[in-house]
Symmetry: C2
Subunit: 320 residues, 2 copies
């Protein structure tokens, strides 16, 4: 089996050009929350248009469609943030989008996706790939996957470019992991010129498929019955993608896990102290910073707050 | 009675130089929430160090102390955000700070001020000026007022400089009003080069002393029993300062008021849609945008989200 080519820094720099004017350059904020030897910065992708980093990859993918592909529109499956992002990128490009969404997705994410003009289909999470494929064949729409695609990885990698530009002496970047698009892109962006920057993935213990696979040296798939238990609804994907796995095993330094209580505490801290509204998935990297001080190590540290799309009832619950 | 000199653009530009490296340049974020004819931007001073714009004025004032003044330290009275700001500015400058705080101030603000190393005295709100004066005489500390001082106004005015730099075609800026330091500085910064930019003050109806005085053409004082009723704890000051009044009547275009329900709705929107944690005072300008579309007028509009220091119980309450 051949090893696929990894996304390169020039791929990510080209994505940054395509994203300019559509995607927001999000703030990188130094907090007062860190340990003295490892100041903690937050990359606030929660303030990205649409409330998550996903707009970067979706915009980069849509920007590279040919005219005949644009005419047929795009389709994807997503638990929410990729859905909104693709819907927004499609609307910006003036093309149609169909989104297949698992029934567990928060109502706030479904409503936001529909408000962006997308055609939303709700199905059981176990059927989403099959339904997406059937619709793709029927309509001819172009499938834009949530993470397992070089254009998606290159787009998400622009987060890494911005970190490197604004914090040149960054030592460690902590990244929430679901399908692996964000960490693959960030690692590809940072490791090219800065091989000594540590890139660390963070997963919920309840969706720790990559942590297990990273230690074992081979990709592992968990059941959706398992990963569905975490509060971090954006991180319930059952395995990283194939292309993502190749990036991670080549470029990522470590993968750690955090408990549900640690995720809730990190959400509370991010909301009340850093003043950033975050979803549970968005707080996972912050949780990793506090739960794994030795594996994080010293030096300027960035936790990527990947998204802020959260139901008000959940915010109330974690602030109780 | 002579009219005092107004703060000038060069005063504010000099403040910006003093603030560099201490105070954060906060993001100016385009929301999706505005009316088509008046896009709504948020100036997120909630993300300022210490959680409010107040660090700007305090830092500018402390930076101009002479050596003998530095040795005696600084003192002020404040319902919270100026307290934290002066405590932080004093700590950065390596000098002592005493803060006289009214007993109604949220516990989170008192705790934050003490954590910054300040000596905090809690008194009834009606006594705070007398107690501050007594301590000032006893200790020789330099009084740094919350708003009625040219150095404070010039420091807060750097918010206006940043808005003008990042959004050159800004048409209207909405500013929460308490003692008037922030709106005085912003108006002085913007009106010098851009006389056609509209600067509009926003107050809670329950603390509408400036709205009444602005219409009447003379400064009005409300009782603290009245202003104490608003949820916006940062805006309970009973009158704008004297120097602030001179800036406002010369430079400000309009002053509007908003109801408590409108403030709560604006908080909810700012938290859930713009993903910014804000205190009630910080949401007042957003509330003004929605409550007064005609008086806001068309064109790119900025609402200053002045602070984000809020108790978790209040966030839970407004999200109910």
């Amino acid at each position: 089996m051949s090893t696929p080519a990894l996304v390169t820094l020039p791929d990510i720099e080209a994505a940054a050009v395509r994203l300019a004017g559509v995607v927001r350059r999000t703030p990188l904020l130094l907090t007062q929350l860190g340990r003295p030897e490892a100041p903690l910065w937050l990359k606030a992708e929660s303030l990205q248009l649409g409330g998550s980093f996903k707009l970067r990859g979706a915009t980069n993918a849509v920007a590279q469609l040919h005219d005949d592909e644009r005419a047929r529109g795009v389709i994807t499956h997503s638990s929410g943030n990729h859905a909104q992002a693709l819907a927004r990128a499609a609307r910006e490009a003036g093309i149609a989008a169909t989104i297949v969404m698992p029934s567990q997705a928060p109502a706030v994410k479904r409503a936001a996706t529909e408000a962006l003009g997308a055609n939303v289909m709700v199905v059981d999470i176990s059927e989403r790939e099959a339904v997406t494929e059937r619709l793709r064949v029927e309509t001819g729409a172009v499938f834009v996957p949530p993470f397992d695609h070089p254009a998606i990885i290159a787009g998400q990698g622009t987060v890494g470019l911005e970190i490197a530009e604004e914090l040149p002496d960054v030592a460690t970047v902590l990244v929430p992991v679901s399908g692996g698009g964000l960490i693959s892109g960030i690692a590809a962006a940072l490791k090219a010129d800065r091989p000594h920057v540590r890139v660390v993935g963070v997963e919920p213990e309840l969706a720790g498929d990559l942590a297990e696979g990273f230690t074992a040296g081979q990709r592992v798939t968990w059941s959706s019955a398992n990963t569905g238990r975490t509060i971090a609804d954006g991180l319930r994907v059952t395995a990283v993608g194939d292309l993502n796995w190749h990036h991670i095993r080549t470029l990522v330094d470590d993968v750690v896990t955090v408990s549900e209580d640690e995720i809730r505490a990190a959400m509370r801290l991010t909301i009340l102290e850093a003043k950033l509204v975050c979803e549970p998935s968005g707080a996972v990297a912050v949780a990793g910073y506090f739960a794994h001080s030795k594996r994080v190590g010293p030096g300027p540290t960035v936790a990527v707050v990947s998204g802020g799309n959260v139901e008000s009832s959940l915010v109330r619950d974690v602030l109780r």
